[in-house]
């Protein structure tokens, strides 16, 4: 046995990149039978055919009209015949691969794992240098991206906070901050045709050309629909650009019970599903076979104030989103890990995040977002991301297999010790002890060796360690960095004047 060398404080190599550790979900539970899902599925199709959906884009309307949809050009309203929906969705791939910049962390949506990212897209941070609470900036996102690159709970990148100092081209600055600081797959938030074209140029540069980008997309994009039942111009026209380039798009809706959606869960799901299906239909009509997936993030309006909340006592909606999207043949992006608690380190923040994370492996969504924000997806603090990373690994371990081979069953060592003895001195114990107890953030012992340290304090310390010392292993080379800067600069001149 070799003793473990002791690292003195301030010595050593600083925090190391953790291997990406997705959540196992190949044995997800089906909470609703096909017979239970069918009414929702049917209602969604009926809604699309009877009530219709708005597409605020002449380009989109032309594509839909040509395909046989019933387009009312005066109002942008489009009614989608059932057959058109079903035949078009059949073109969408049931799974695809989200590429990483270095190829080392590609995400195969058919793998039986669920890949996660952070919450997004927050608008405030608590500055880790000064403690000041303020609007988030591009520099903040660059810092947070280094944390995303380091932590094993983060399989792919999403702008945790927005580049609030970058004006109309913020979404491009965000992906620039992303690629400059991580090799993981990037899911952008780019909206609008012009920004999307610049984003495609950036993605092709990083991928090594348009063909390579299509073959192994290093970027995807998250595009929101507008509830109820509207595909807005900036969203779908960005989607059309990405569809053409082979960049996967996840269409997301956040139907709000009682305000932008019916006050019943089922009704809100039908509205949400109709939006996602309508966007996906356009996507496939524009570029048959283009990778597309969906997300229905049901949220709630507090009936006393109309303020948005995400985690009421009865929060049973989450599984249904994935099951409904799968019934349309689309992969799903789940919404797990958020909290309405204003600050981290509270009972509320821990409970809400943990309860949701435990649902991910049961849910079976291929991707999910996310952890790291407080105050209903708005506020980033570094310690929250570390605390949530800890909760994530608790959820991950809960669903791992227990080894049951001969060595693990340990009959030999049990026999050697016998009744009334102890296992401390057994070589078998020494061989397994380091894996026997996976220590959480709550199990750091204090200097006097007697007490466990405060988890919030430990999390803050670990976060600061990453922020101060961690650099991604494979930074983008200088030429690519300069070229990304040029593209974003072009967009700034074109769109910000």
């Amino acid at each position: 046995m070799t003793a473990v060398p002791k690292l003195e404080a301030g010595e050593g190599e600083g925090p190391q990149r953790q291997p990406v550790a997705p959540l196992r979900s190949d044995f997800a539970v089906r909470f609703h039978s096909e017979a239970q899902i069918e009414p929702l599925h049917e209602a969604t199709l009926a809604l699309l055919e009877r009530t219709g959906v708005k597409y605020q884009s002449a380009k989109a309307l032309a594509i839909l009209k040509k395909a046989g949809a019933k387009v009312d050009e005066g109002s942008d309203l489009v009614r989608l015949p059932r057959r058109l929906v079903e035949e078009t969705l059949a073109l969408a791939p049931r799974s695809f691969v989200l590429g990483s910049r270095d190829g080392a962390a590609d995400l195969d949506l058919a793998s039986g794992y669920t890949y996660g990212t952070t919450d997004g897209c927050g608008v405030e941070v608590v500055d880790w240098r000064t403690g000041e609470r303020r609007t988030s900036t591009k520099a903040d996102l660059a810092d947070i991206t280094r944390m995303q690159d380091c932590l094993g709970s983060i399989s792919f990148w999403w702008p945790t906070v927005s580049a609030g100092d970058c004006g109309e081209t913020a979404q491009l600055h965000e992906i620039e901050a992303g690629w400059n600081n991580t090799t993981k797959h990037l899911m952008g938030m780019v909206q609008g045709e012009k920004l999307a074209r610049h984003a495609v140029e950036m993605a092709a540069l990083v991928a090594g050309g348009a063909a390579e980008l299509r073959r192994r997309p290093v970027m995807s994009d998250l595009i929101g629909t507008v509830s109820p039942l509207v595909n807005d111009k900036d969203g779908i026209e960005a989607g059309l650009v990405f569809a053409e380039a082979g960049i996967p798009v996840c269409y997301v809706t956040m139907p709000n019970l009682g305000t932008t959606a019916p006050a019943t869960k089922a009704g809100a799901f039908v509205v949400g599903a109709a939006e996602i299906v309508s966007a996906a239909v356009l996507h496939e009509l524009a570029a048959p076979g283009a990778p597309v997936w969906g997300s229905i993030m049901q949220i709630y309006a507090d009936p006393r104030t109309a303020l948005t909340m995400t985690t009421p006592l009865d929060d049973r909606c989450r599984f249904l989103a994935t099951e409904l999207l799968h019934s349309f043949g689309l992969p799903a992006l789940g919404a797990f890990g958020g909290t309405d608690a204003e600050m981290p380190g509270t009972w509320q923040a821990g409970v809400e995040t943990m309860l949701q994370l435990l649902q991910v492996p049961l849910d079976g969504c291929e991707t999910y977002t996310g952890i790291g924000l407080a105050n209903t997806y708005n506020l980033f603090t570094p310690e929250k991301l570390v605390l949530d990373d800890d909760l994530y690994h608790r959820a991950r371990h809960a669903f791992l297999d227990i080894p049951m081979d001969e060595d693990a069953l340990a009959l030999g060592v049990i026999d050697a010790v016998g009744p009334g003895g102890h296992f401390l001195a057994q070589p078998h114990t020494r061989r397994h002890m380091r894996d026997a107890v996976a220590r959480a953030v709550t199990q750091e012992i204090d200097a006097d060796g007697q007490h466990y340290r405060d988890a919030l304090e430990v999390a803050r310390e670990r976060a600061l360690d990453i922020l101060r010392h961690y650099e991604p292993e494979q930074p983008l080379d200088d030429d690519a960095r300069r070229e990304l800067r040029r593209i974003v600069g072009d967009a700034d001149r074109e769109l910000r004047g």
Partner: protein
């Protein structure tokens, strides 16, 4: 060679430790020097690593056992009046309590730190503790309990030591899951360790 011996002890490599100890003795290095300059410093490092969480108990135990083997080799070579022992500790679990893993762990780590340990086992009565103190004249008497119901026996033993006129001759240490520093203070014990590693540190402090 002494550095190698120290490293082998830290790694718990009994074969190498025994071979190096014998080689050092054969080359004329005094047993006292081997103990003071290789073995005890090695166990110091193990103790530090245990405190910092880099070394786990089963590893500490392996080093402690390896240390015992080396001490057995040194003992016949110690000069007259010299001892390999840091002091004698009489240890036991109090009456009515059959839990002994924690107490045994402390005993093993004490041995690793160079103490001679007289382990009385479990269910030890006040009278048995007093009799063992009289017989072995230990520097330290250690009492362990896991049950809140058996904790009071610690106080009874201290009272019995006083009655026998032995209280001043021995330092009393207490430990076990329900034992706290304030309980130890109330009893009038001289030492308490919240865990096995800290108990050994405290024991060293008491005899140092």
């Amino acid at each position: 060679m002494k550095d190698q011996l120290k490293e082998a002890l830290i790694a718990g490599d009994a074969g190498t430790v025994n071979a190096l100890t014998e080689a050092l003795l054969a080359s004329g290095v005094p047993a006292r020097e081997i103990l003071d300059e290789a073995l005890l410093p090695g166990m110091e490092v193990v103790g530090e690593r245990m405190r910092s969480g880099d070394c786990f108990i089963p590893e500490v135990l392996l080093s402690a056992r390896t240390m015992q083997g080396a001490l057995d080799l040194l003992r016949p070579h110690m000069a007259a009046g010299e001892s390999t022992s840091a002091g004698t500790v009489v240890i036991g679990t109090v009456e009515g309590d059959l839990h002994d893993i924690g107490k045994n762990l402390v005993a093993m780590l004490l041995q690793g730190a160079g103490f001679t340990v007289v382990n009385l086992g479990t269910g030890v009565t006040s009278a048995q503790f007093v009799s063992a103190v009289r017989e072995h004249s230990p520097a330290i008497l250690g009492m362990s309990a896991l049950l809140t119901t058996t904790l009071p026996h610690m106080g009874e033993t201290i009272a019995a030591l006083k009655a026998a006129g032995l209280r001043e001759s021995v330092k009393v240490m207490v430990g076990g899951a329900p034992v706290t520093q304030s309980w130890a203070d109330e009893l009038g014990a001289d030492g308490y360790g919240a865990n096995a590693g800290l108990a050994v540190e405290r024991a060293k402090g008491l005899v140092g």
